[in-house]
Amino acid sequence: MHLALTSAPVDTGDTAWMIVCTALVLLMTPGLALFYAGMVRSKHALGMIMQNFVTIAIVTVTWVVVGYSLAFDRDAAGGLIGGLHLVGLTHAEIAVPGFNLTFPPLAFVMFQMMFAIVTAALISGASADRMRFAAFVTFIAIWSVVVYAPLAHWAWSPEGWLAKAGLLDFAGGTVVEICSGASALALALVIGPRRGWPREIMAPHNLPLTMLGAGLLWFGWIGFNAGSALSAGHLAANAALATHLSGVGGMIGWLLLEKRITGKATTLGAASGAVAGLVAITPAAGFVSPLPALLLGCIAGAAALLAIRLKFRFRYDDSLDVVAVHYVGGVIGILFIGFFAAAAVNPNVAHQGLLLGGGLTQLARQGLGVLAASAFAFTASYAIAWALRATMGLRVSPEQEAEGLDSSQHAETAYELTSSSSLGRIS
C-alpha cells in the first residue's frame, strides 16, 4: 500500500471538530469513574475513581513516549506492530502514515490518546475493590504498550494485518470493547474474586453517581464515534445519530427483558443497557445506517443482561460486568457489521452486509477480527497479570480489603456524613 507522507491541506472545520471530539472522549474517563464508583461499596469509591483518574496520567505518558508509534507508525513486522519512528512524538507533526488527514496530525495523536486511556480505564471494573494501587498502575502502564498499541495497529493502521484482511472497526469494537472485555476477564481470573463473593451482598452504594457517570459516557460517546469519521461531514452525522439510537435501543432492550424476568425496570438497568447499546454501535457507527442501529442496541442491551449470568455460572468475579457489557457488546457490534454494512453510508465498505445482499464475505472478516482480538488481548493480559502477581502481588491484604481501598490505599474517606466522623485532630 502506498502511504501518504504528507497530509492534505488543513480544513479548519475538521480541525475544530477533532479537537472538540478529543475533549468529549477525555470526559468519558471521569464519567466512567463515576459510573463505576457508584456501583462499588462506599469504602472503595475513591479507590475506583482514583484508578480511573490515574489512568489518564499513565496512558498519556506511555502513549506519547511509545504507544502512539507502535500503533500508528509504518509497519515494522508483518502487520503486527508499528515502528519506532514516531517515538517521543518525533516526526509526529508531519503526517500519520497511511492517513490522508484534513487536520493536523497532532490532533490525531491526541484523539487516539483518549481512546487508549478510556480502554485501559474500562478494565478497572473487573478488579474492583481488591487491587493494590501500585499493581494497577504498573498493570495499566505495561498493558497500554503491550496490548493496546499492537491491537490498535492491527485494526486501525492501514498496514495492520486485520485492516488488510478487511476487518471493519469504525471506533473500536475490537480495539476498545473486545480488548478491554477480554483483558478484564483475564485480570479477574488472575486476581481472584472479592472476599465473600458471591455469597455476601455487594450492592451499589450510590446509583445517582452511576447515572451521572452513564450520562457523561453517553455525552462523550458522540465524540468517540462521530469523531472517528476523522472529518466533520455526512459520515460523522451518520455515526452520531446511529450512536444515539443504539444507546436508546440498549436501554429499551435491557429494561424490557429485565421487567419480564424480575418484574421491575431498574435505574441501574437503564444505565447499563444504554452503555451496552453504545458499546455495540462503536465499531458499526460509520458502516451501518441509523435505523439498524436501534435494532443493534436492543439486541446488545438484552444480551448484556443475560450475559451477566455467566460470571455466576463460571465463578469469575468480573465485579462490574466489563465482560457482559463490553466484551459481549463489542462482539455483537463487530458481527452486526457483517449483516448491515452499507456502501451508501461509507464508501470504504467493499462488501455489503449479508442482509444487504453482500453475502458472507464481510461477516467472515468480522469473525476473524473477533477471534484475533479476543485471543490476543486475553492471552497477553493474562500473562501480564500473572507476572505481576508472581512479582509485586496484585491484591491488597484481607485486612485492607475489609477496611476498603479508600482508607488502605489512599488514606482518605469518600463520605464524611456524620459529625462524629470528623472529630480527629491534626497530628
Binding site: I201, A203, K264, G269, S272, I308, R309, F312, D321
Partner: protein, 112 residues
Amino acid sequence: MKLITAIVKPFKVGDVRDALSGLGVRGLTVSDVQGYGRQGGHTEVYRGAEYKIDFVPKIRMEVLVADAAAAGVIEAIVTAAQTGKIGDGKVWVQNIEEVVRVRTGERGVDAI
C-alpha cells in the same frame, strides 16, 4: 426515672414526636439504626441479580421521663407508631439511677 427506648418505622417519627410534645415531653434523642425482627428483610435487584437485604432501616427514639409519666408516654408512642402491619417496632423501658443536666448540675427528676 425511666428510659424509654422505641424502635419505630422511619416515617412514623414525626407522629411520635408530636404525640410526645402533646404530653409535655421536653426532649428526646433519635438515631438511625438497622435491624430485623419478625419482618425480616427485603429483596433488591441489581443487574438481574437478586439480593436479600437482611436488615431494615428503623429509627431508635430514646426519652427520659419521671416514673409517673412512663405509662402515658409508652401509650402515646405505641398509638402514634402503630400501623398494624408487621415491622411496627418495639418499645422497652429501663430504670435509671441518676440523671444530671450538664449546664446546671441539676440532678434527678429536675434534670429531665
